[in-house]
């Protein structure tokens, strides 16, 4: 910890749009476990959307870039803490734009010209970090283990990382060099630190189809099928993921996959932070937000009840 006196390090938190709807359970559980891990989250005041993976098509490249520019300018007004986000798309855009503003004089000038329309400016002197990178590099597995009072004994977890949480930044210097692109280990390590068993799982960084799955699932259901199938074959009780869109796609399309391919999938998909909240002995609803999963993570709910009872 960089601030041993206070025991907590402050980060400027960018929750992103999904935190208010489809990934409410990521936001809720992350905010719940953060203080136990020495993370103090200060939300960016009046943040806006990052543009996700589709904004540029209609909006254009510079307007899309300017979305992150405004968030970064707002974050900088609040201080020089590292910016933390838990959403893969928010991270991809915000980190990517931040690095471009740092390295490319022309981008910096153009973004600032646009920001000038609202009397904002940003010079690129913040760092934008993924929550998982912060957990690996700043918090560490020992501290996570140290908070576990309700080990997730017997819970078999398929760690599904997805794409943008690790690609294209996880192995770069600015991305904190916290894991690899193809065989990341951090998620399995989180699960095991919580006392669960991380099963061998091949499609760790396979693609769920991202936003293409949202608007044209007919093109991508076969991708999601492989992701669920491998977890079922590995005997997993749950799939755990860090990504809001992965969580949503892999969970909500299981019925459609069953219909199309004649399978009978009904496998819960949870966030790593929900595993942590249960393992830390916190409340199943108020902290772990287990009621927000469309497919109830039955075993995890039982483990949470055991701790409460």
């Amino acid at each position: 910890m960089s601030d041993p006196k206070a025991g907590a390090k402050t980060y400027t938190y960018y929750p992103g749009c999904s935190s208010q709807a489809s990934a409410i359970h990521l936001d809720k559980s992350l905010r719940a476990v953060a203080p136990k891990l020495g993370i103090a989250l200060e939300e960016i005041e009046d943040w806006n959307c990052c543009g996700a993976s589709v904004g540029h098509v209609e909006g254009g490249a510079l307007p899309q870039t300017a979305l992150s520019g405004r968030n970064l300018a707002k974050a900088r007004q609040q201080g020089s803490h590292d910016v933390l986000t838990a959403c893969a798309a928010c991270y991809l855009n915000t980190h990517g734009v931040n690095e471009k503003i740092k390295q490319d004089v022309r981008t910096r000038a153009r973004v600032n010209q646009a920001l000038g329309a609202a009397d904002l400016k940003y010079d690129g002197d913040l760092n934008v970090r993924h929550a998982c990178e912060v957990l690996v590099n700043d918090v560490g597995l020992e501290r996570i283990k140290g908070q576990v009072v309700n080990p997730l004994k017997g819970l078999k977890v398929a760690g599904y990382v997805g794409c943008q949480t690790v690609r294209p930044f996880a192995a770069t210097q600015s991305g904190g060099e916290y894991d690899t692109y193809d065989q990341p280990e951090f998620l399995d390590n989180f699960a095991e630190a919580c006392g669960a068993e991380a099963v061998a799982y091949d499609p760790k960084t396979s693609c769920c189809g991202g936003s293409v799955s949202v608007h044209s699932p007919d093109k991508t259901l076969h991708l999601i099928k492989q992701i669920v199938e491998a977890a079922v074959e590995a005997g997993a009780d749950v799939i755990a993921t860090p990504c809001p869109l992965c969580q949503q796609n892999v969970e909500m399309y299981q019925d459609a996959i069953n219909k199309k391919f004649g399978t009978s999938f009904n496998l819960p998909v949870v966030f790593y932070s929900q595993l942590m909240a249960v393992a830390f002995g916190m409340d199943a609803k108020a902290d772990a937000a287990l009621d927000a999963n469309m497919i109830a993570p039955v075993k995890l709910v039982e483990l949470a009840k055991k701790a409460a009872g």
Partner: protein
Amino acid sequence: MSAAPAAASAASAGRRQYDLGFARWVYQHVEGGDKVAMCMQCGMCSGSCPIGTAMDHGPRKLFMMIRAGMKEAVLTSNTIWNCTQCYNCVVRCPRKVPVTAILQSLATVAVKEGYAPTQSTPKFSKAFWLSVARFGRTDERLVTALYYFSHGLKEGIRRALENLPIALRMIKAGRMHLGLPHRAKGAADLRAILAKAEDIERAERAGGKPS
């Protein structure tokens, strides 16, 4: 701007099939476009693509087509719409070609030039951007509804009914926002920033429109 149906052949749309200035235009005006010249046609990108089999042409072939000046075929290919942005190709490319950024830029060009009137991604992006520019935030419920009904009333109703079970489960799980859209208080400021950014790009484009 003549809007050619995406499926129509270049000849029937009355456009030139080859435009020898296209490669140079891409090198100069598409983000990362200069790196297309670096492509050595190894195929790592196409081989790494999770959705490559659903593409008209993999990225490798598309880059060769750019260099051959096949503007029509490039801008009407579904390659630019099917990219899921998994970044496999980007981290694996031995020549560090920013494949995803190039496909994104080409998508924006294709929309601006009227090449993609029937594609799903631009329809979805239009619905998405409406929410972002108006409220400063994505309202997933609003974006989904606008997208469904961008296909027409009948198709909109069909899609809405088809996905109703998912919607109901999302509501039950507390993951569909039901009140007025969340908004950034500074949405008006954001709109001013976006308008300025559009102005800047428009001025830049005036100096370098694809022929």
